[in-house]
């Protein structure tokens, strides 16, 4: 949408709300994408760090 007139935010960004609560669930330890997730989690890496390796 078009930016309304007079809209302002710090560095053009305005944080308004936050996520509603999330549900704790089990993910299935199967498949290449899970293994990548497990690797990230165990080494405490973020996506971009993982991409670089």
């Amino acid at each position: 949408p078009v930016l309304p007139q007079g809209w302002a935010g710090e560095k053009d960004f305005k944080s308004i709300g936050q996520l509603s609560s999330a549900t704790q669930r089990n993910i299935e330890p199967v498949g290449p994408h899970f293994l990548a997730h497990a690797r990230r989690k165990r080494h405490q890496r973020t996506f971009s760090e993982d991409d670089r390796i």
Partner: protein, 574 residues
Amino acid sequence: MSSQEEGETSPEITAIGISFGNSNSSIAYTSGEGKAEVIANEEGDRQIPSVLSYIEGEEYHGTQAKSQLVRNSKNTVAYFRDYLGKDFDSIDPTPCHASAHPQKHESTVAFSIQDKESEAQNIVTVSEITTRHLRRLASSASDFLGKKVNAAVITVPTNVTEEQREALSKAAKAAGVDVLQMISEPTAAVLAYDARPEAKLKDKIIVVADLGGTRSDIAVIASRGGIYSILSTSHDYETAGAQLDQVLVDHFAKEFTKKNKTDPRQNDRSLAKLKLEAEATKKALSLGGNASCSVESLADGIDFSSTINRTRYELLAGKVFGAFTRLIEEAVRKADLDILDVDEVILSGGTSHTPKISQNLQRLFPPTTRILSPSTLPTAIDPSSLSARGAAIQASLVQEFEKDDIEQSTHPMVTVTPHLRNAIGVMVVSEDVKKGLFTALVEKETAVPCRRRGVFAVPREGGDVMVKVCEGLRDIKVSKKEKPKANGKPASDDSDLDSDDDEDEEEEMREKVWNVGSVLAEAAVKEVKKGGKVEVTIRVEADLGVHIEAREAGGKGGVRGILGTARVVENGSA
């Protein structure tokens, strides 16, 4: 070269995928090109009946053992998978009625069979039977691969207990097979499809219906970025292949009785013969429109031969088919979803070959839902082999790992993560929140951390653009379809028939709509070119912090922002 020595220091692991069922088992491996292939045993069977039979000390396995159910039922063990790791009081011995009966033995279940050359009856525990069965499966795989198979990924139902896992692991170890990992049957089926080179990674809701011989298991799975989370599961032991066999057994038995005045169901051996043949007839009816059933000397030395066509069979088994559909509907409801939310239905298990079951599902689900079964999709994978293939793929992924690595990776510390309760997306088109069009970027039930990127069109003239990131709630809009104007009949005709028609015509139209939830953030992207697009990246961290980045597609820089973290609510996982 002292290859022997090398073998001792670091034994080579040859891992396969095993799907171990009550009725059938299958084995699969991953070829050099990364494709899962199902292995046939010496008899050429890819579906190997989970049956063991003993005659004068000799062990028979698979199809050969199954045919012994007629002459040698007391020394034939079948349908034992679900007894493993259970105590006698908690098992249902019904499926074993026509074979060796399970009995209480110390804390486990055992069978009393004559498995040696001597006449003596031996007590063989279910865990020993499992070991023998797995040993035969592994040796078939070893023969085929030309290498000793010493490890496997085995599929298990979603409702196995820790005791059952342990018992299976022990029994496999005794057979010389190291269980690298146990994965659940429905996930294995999803993996078998997702690992195909032509598969595209997409966020979707999948229903896996594993329709087996003695049980049916339904699981609703959210597939998000290739990560699977089970949302609901249900299990049914009354609606499965055995019930379909029974329909045919009853049908043919009645036909036989009409001609010959003896009911083959009254005699154990006659019944066993008829059951085996009825199952073969059922399989033939999945492939062709007509099938025959013939049994030599069915009862009183009289031969029986008959044919049945598919239409007749579908009529007779209509009730059972309906029950399958209801099971699936129920599982979707249990996951708090609507049938409109389902993107794919994967039919797995032997009974899934039945065309009528997939046809019924096609009618239940909207046309956009893909029903993956041989009769509805030409490229569908053989449903009987799905779990074995999935297991083989997983085996190829983890066989290089250290055992500790696998254990640590599958630890709840890793597998339990928060899942988004609502979708996150971007408002496009309109300025007004209420009228705006919501486009979901991150679907609900996505496990975090996750990131998604989307490209959105901006108003034609370009200029400064506002990116509004919101939560979205899926809603089902029900609207009554206008009934068509009187079709020739006078309106005053109020017969019963007419009122029936009215009900049909006033069909409900149901569709998925997005209701916009709370607004999370606004960002301004300035001076977008005419006809340009805006790229929005949303990244949700493990602590539920949200990073938002918006920029003109192809442009540099852009706007970034972070939202505060939200609470995680403990909620029983499915």
